[in-house]
Amino acid sequence: MLVSQPFEALRSKKPMSDSVIQTHQNAGEVLALDGVSLTVNGKTLLHDISVHSEAQGTTLIMGANGAGKSLLMKCLHGLLTPTSGSIKLLNRPSHETRHQQAMVFQKPVLLRRTVMGNLTFAAPKTTPPEVLHEMLERVNLSGKDQQPARVLSGGEQQRLALARALLTRPKILFLDEPTASLDPASVLIIERLIQEATADGVKSIFISHDIGQAKRLADDVIFLHQGRVTEHTSAATFFTQPLTSQAQAYLAGDVVL
């Protein structure tokens, strides 16, 4: 059973060296943002964000509510167009890598059809049925393939959304708080799938407020405060020696203003 795997198994990640995170442009960059700003209705919500990273694995975006995490993720994924600046993923302009990206939203968006119907909608046409069934098994939904997707529980819906995203075989996977308000079993399955995906070479960019989860999954952390990146370090450094007072307050559970 997938759910029986202990959390300890998820904690075996090696801390990543700060040297992996680059602060200058590099030929092997997975993520390269230069001067990205987003202004909506005259209000600047993201300010001149520059982040360069060649780190594989999972990049966590953290910050208080309203810091601009989801907006930044939407800009990275191309759902929003920045007012200025440039975004490169896998060393190419973001829009050129669209077919190599997938996203799981905080609130799962499922089509009004069966579980299997949702998978076949997104999967490449040539995907054999056994691959679809295997994926359902991996997300603990086997036997539910003919159920209407929208009657599943919240955890099941999110697992289905992740399964659908993974079937597109992305090289970059965006996850916007995918485990918010889910039960521990669903959280465990989702974390396990993300770890399996990153082990297969998929770059995960993840938003979470769960510090325990962040410690389990993150290789590096981007910390946002009021639309600005105030910190981008390895996860080991971020959780032990946060540089800014906002990150310190956030990790301590204090109100970040």
Partner: protein, 233 residues
């Protein structure tokens, strides 16, 4: 008197009165034809309006919503002017034919179905937009998905259009003329027979019309309950 008329009306229905059923058959033919044409026109209008962005979109939506309340007699008058001998389409000789009645009903119910379809599609588009963007599905490819996923709500809209068409009297009496054995439908026949004092046949047609309305509403309720059960609305 009312009781007599009612029992005669029931007798007419039960005995399968040929004149009664001729009127019923023509009513159904005219309204289903109008419905088929309206669906072909209205669903693309509602869908395209919902998923596309262009200057003046809000005005278009306002106009479409306003057209839902088109007065049938005005529609009848406009179609009459178009089809009358001196009108732009007079050469076709369609006035006082079932085709003219179909045209009038199409004009009347297309905005209703389109406006209801727009509401359904707009809600769906707000929900699916980012997912489709994420999956790299453009608007043209998205249209069949929207139509399929909104199927239950759209059927409800279509049934509402049929209900409006079959019960309409003002427009069809102007362009159809209520000619016996040619353009006499249920609603126009009820108006005529009532004015003549022939209450039995008017009541019989009224009962059938009510049953049809009941059937349409039962259809709407059934479709909606199926959709709710599957969380498809």
């Amino acid at each position: 008197m009312l009781f007599d008329a009612f029992s005669q009306a029931v007798a007419l229905i039960v005995s399968g009165d040929p004149e009664l059923f001729e009127i019923l058959w023509l009513s159904i033919q005219v309204s289903t034809s109008a419905l088929a044409i309206s669906v072909i026109l209205a669903l693309p209008i509602g869908t395209v309006l919902a998923i596309s962005e262009f200057p003046g979109k809000r005005l278009c939506v306002t106009v479409l919503n306003s057209l839902m309340g088109l007065p049938p007699v005005v529609v009848g008058l406009l179609v009459y002017l178009m089809l009358s001998r001196s009108g732009p389409l007079g050469v076709l000789g369609l006035l006082y034919t079932p085709t003219a009645m179909v045209i009038a009903q199409v004009v009347l119910i297309t905005p209703i179905i389109a406006a209801l379809a727009y509401q359904v599609m707009d809600d769906l588009h707000r929900e699916y937009r980012e997912l489709f963007q994420s999956l790299g599905i453009d608007s043209i490819r998205a249209i069949p998905t929207y139509l399929w996923d909104a199927r239950y709500s759209l059927v409800t809209s279509i049934l509402a259009g049929f209900g409006r068409a079959i019960s309409e009297v003002g427009a069809v009496i102007i362009v159809g003329g209520n000619i016996d054995h040619l353009t006499r439908v249920m609603t126009t026949a009820i108006a005529l027979e009532t004015s003549k004092g022939e209450l039995a046949i008017a009541l019989a047609l009224g009962i059938i019309l009510l049953m049809l309305a009941l059937l349409v509403n039962a259809g709407v309720t059934t479709v909606r309950s199926i959709a709710l059960k599957k969380a498809y609305v």
